[in-house]
């Protein structure tokens, strides 16, 4: 089945002669579309060829060729491989590329990100503001000619560390002894966030109304966060309210931004693995999985058979604990402080014990390597996994369901509160449990199988109402399906080596590009890599599920009550480490 799906027949170059051409650079795939014809071609990609899900939009700075390239990855929600198309523009400011926001609304945040980090103006984008960097920021940090404040060298390893061991601390160079630099003449006392008005202007404006002649009402703008206990970290949301009803909403993010992509481009391929742990810090195993799969795609190396099973076991255990935490923290957000979340944490702790025993760390696992994993599962740990998967977690999941699912207060808070319908979910490039809860059975493990997921018998969890109750229940379904996969994987796991490669701290990656994606517990986790044959990636881009899913938050929350907003946000299961990168 998988092989039949994997043959792409779309030839944009044949369909649009003179408007699109196949990308012939060695190691590259897809099509290069003329900038002028982008809208036309993209419309055909969606309507004629049926690629309804635009998952990733990103840019690459080819400074040597004086070009900027915007890369689009489109997929079908019915499954199968994707279609990659690119647009190139002269690297002379202003760099302008037409916005695809009217074709795929999910391009919204990702285009804003490309504007912020690369300075590509997407013409036709209604709200092209900075998204990750702060408002007063100058420059576009992912450009190859941009250097960070305490720039040492273009790539790691830095030569100063060995053999001379000369090293000055970054903080010594700064008069404030802090890792910051400010624009010239920056005066924090008198700094005014000028662009702040743009944020509020992007919200729907309001008029004062008279109700029954004499009572005057007004809409108010409320800022939730960045320091708000229910925004799962430092996310700020500007909300316009009519009474208690949300009529407009804009998320503001970037408070945890550390330019993960730039760090990744300075790192060697291997050095990136522990950095991916820190993206979605609940699921470092999944993040590792996504990254190594992509690099293996580029390197064209096989994965050791036993390691494939170990990888799947770890990734699915990670999904189980992520969903348990989701359920627990959702209860926290709904106001039932601590009891359910601590019950969930109990099971999670047991799973983290396993992670610690195999990888050495509970959360920052750093367990996967190119071609396999770092070490084998010891027998006693395997026994513990069996005990948990076959006995404890199924029983505890049942208990959790008994505990919560029929609780009248919970049902009243969740049932019938609309989250997303299928059309909107696809339009906004939402992936993961939220998409499946609105009735789209799209799971990358089935739709475009990676690793060895095509060997397991499991169902894609799907629910059809698209309300909060379904979004909540689907997590239980997914835990059950993960347990099914785990059971089979444990049973089928062969003996053998755990890595197909010799351990090497410097891997050879041939020139080319690769987009690898996995079904992380939160949705599609994609990595886009461009290699130029050097030890460091030329372009390293993360397409996090949390970030793209948040594009839909405005549509989700419009018309809902402010009290439900916290729960609606919880449904997206965002993690700021991944969202802000």
């Amino acid at each position: 089945m998988a092989t039949a799906l994997q043959t792409s027949t779309v030839d944009l170059a044949a369909r649009f002669p003179n408007k699109a051409a196949a990308d012939t650079r060695p190691g590259f795939t897809g099509f290069i579309v003329n900038k002028e014809n982008l809208i036309e071609v993209a419309t055909a990609v969606r309507d004629e060829f049926g690629y309804d899900l635009l998952t990733a939009v990103t840019a690459v700075d080819y400074i040597a060729e004086n070009k900027m390239e915007v890369v689009y990855h489109a997929y079908k929600t019915t499954g199968g491989p994707g279609l990659t198309f690119k647009v190139q523009a002269e690297r002379v400011d202003p760099i302008e590329v037409p916005s695809l926001i009217n074709i795929w609304a999910g391009a919204d945040f990702q285009e804003r990100e490309a504007w912020d980090l690369y300075g590509i103006k997407f013409t036709g984008h209604p709200d092209l503001r900075r998204i990750l960097m702060w408002e007063g920021y100058e420059g576009h940090p992912l450009r190859k000619d941009w250097k960070e404040p305490f720039f040492e060298e273009e790539v790691k390893p830095f030569k100063s560390r060995w053999p001379e061991g000369k090293h000055t601390f970054a903080e010594q160079k700064n008069p404030y002894r802090d890792n910051l630099n400010f624009p010239k003449d920056f005066d924090p006392e008198n700094f005014v966030v000028e662009k702040e008005e743009d944020l509020y202007a992007s919200l729907e404006r309001h008029t004062t109304k008279d109700i029954e002649g004499n009572m005057k009402t007004d809409h108010i703008v409320v800022n939730m966060g960045p320091h708000h206990p229910s925004t799962h970290g430092v996310l700020r949301v500007a909300v316009t309210l009519d009474g208690e009803t949300i009529i407009g909403l804009k998320p503001v993010m970037g408070y945890l931004h550390r330019n993960h992509d730039k760090i990744g481009e300075r790192n060697t391929y291997l050095q990136n693995i522990p950095y991916t742990d820190r993206l979605d810090y609940f699921n470092s195993m999944s993040n590792n999985f996504g990254y190594v799969t992509t690099v293996e795609k580029l390197m064209k190396i096989p994965v050791a058979e036993r390691a494939e099973y170990i990888r799947v076991i770890m990734a699915e255990l990670s999904r189980v604990q992520n969903h348990l935490i989701f359920i627990g923290m959702l209860m926290n957000d709904l106001g039932t402080m601590y009891t359910p979340s601590l019950y969930a944490f109990e099971e999670r702790e047991l799973i983290l014990d396993i992670f610690e025993a195999v990888s050495g760390a509970r959360m920052m696992c750093n367990y996967y390597r190119f071609g396999g994993v770092v070490r084998d599962i010891p027998d006693d740990v395997l026994q513990k996994i069996k005990d948990l998967v076959l006995e404890r977690i199924p029983a505890k999941t049942d208990e959790m369901e008994r505990f919560l699912n029929e609780n009248e207060i919970l049902v009243a808070r969740l049932k019938g509160i609309h989250v997303l319908n299928a059309e909107d979910a696809i339009k906004f490039s939402v992936t993961g449990p939220v998409l499946r809860a609105s009735g789209v059975p799209y799971d990358i493990r089935r739709a475009d199988p990676y690793s060895i997921y095509d060997r397991f018998d499991f169902d894609v969890a799907v629910r059809h109402n698209g309300d909060m109750m379904d979004n909540y229940l689907i997590r239980f379904d997914e835990i059950r399906q993960s347990l099914r996969i785990l059971e089979q994987a444990i049973k089928q796991m062969p003996q053998g080596p755990i890595n197909s490669q010799k351990p090497a701290y410097q891997v050879r990656v041939p020139a080319g590009e690769a987009y690898g994606r996995i079904e992380s517990p939160k949705g599609e986790l994609g990595f886009y890599l461009v290699s130029n044959g050097k030890p460091n990636p030329y372009r390293y881009h993360v397409r996090p599920a949390s970030f793209v899913n948040l594009t839909a938050v405005e549509t989700m929350c419009k018309g809902a009550k402010i009290a439900d907003f916290v729960a609606l946000l919880a449904m997206l299961d965002i993690v700021m480490g991944e969202l802000d990168r």
């Binding site: 053999p163 090293h167 060697t268 693995i273 195999v358």
Partner: protein, 208 residues
């Protein structure tokens, strides 16, 4: 009936509450201590754990698995006259593989021959920047740098570890990672035996 679900929920919390006491009583009747013992902590992190789950740090501590990893340390063998035989040859692989680049090593040259001295002159790890990834220990070809088990290292100041702070005897390494130590010792012995056999063969070859 409205409220049935609530009662069901309460039953679960009630059962959990009750479990703690039945568990305590059953441990007591068996004459065992559930708290402040290794056995008790091990039971609480097994699949059979029921009732209260908390491990009361610092009175009790979770059992650390062997692979558990925190800030690295340098291994030395204790020589006959109490001399520290540092295994590190200052080859620099750990400094090169380190993702946040928090290791820096000073390698010096022999003043007579002008060739590099294998033992590092200085070796620093910036423990505030170290991300405990374990790459240095994983890729060290001489088993000279290993990950520690000591996690209680919070302090108010800047933590830059020098050789003095980093060096720990191989007996300590054996005590925290017995399995790994055994495997590495065996590999080393096998290698030495192979080397000796090769030397022997080379010595006997011209005679034959």
């Amino acid at each position: 009936m409205y409220g049935k679900g609530l009662l069901k929920s309460l039953k679960v919390t009630w059962d959990r509450f009750w479990d703690t006491y039945t568990e305590d009583i059953s441990w007591m009747l068996r004459g065992k201590k559930r708290y402040n013992t290794v056995e008790g902590v091990a039971h609480r992190s097994s699949k059979n754990t029921r009732g209260i789950f908390t491990v009361q740090y610092p009175e009790e501590q979770l059992i650390q698995p062997e692979e558990s990893r925190f800030i690295p340390f340098l291994v030395f063998n204790e020589g006959a006259d109490g001399k520290k035989e540092v295994l590190c040859t200052s080859c620099g692989i750990c400094a090169k593989v380190c993702p946040p680049q928090c290791i820096w090593i000073v390698r010096s040259n022999d003043p007579v021959t002008g060739r590099p001295v294998p033992e590092p002159t200085e070796f620093y790890i910036d423990a505030d920047i170290c991300m405990n990834c374990g790459f240095c220990a994983e890729y060290c070809p001489f088993d000279a740098i290993k990950m520690d088990h000591d996690f209680a290292i919070a302090s108010y100041g800047r933590n830059i570890y020098n050789m003095q702070k980093l060096l720990k005897p191989s007996s300590y390494y054996e005590s925290i990672r017995p399995q790994n130590f055994k495997i590495e010792e065996e590999a080393r012995k096998a290698k030495e035996a192979a080397k000796a056999a090769k030397a022997e063969a080379a010595a006997s070859a011209p005679a034959a």
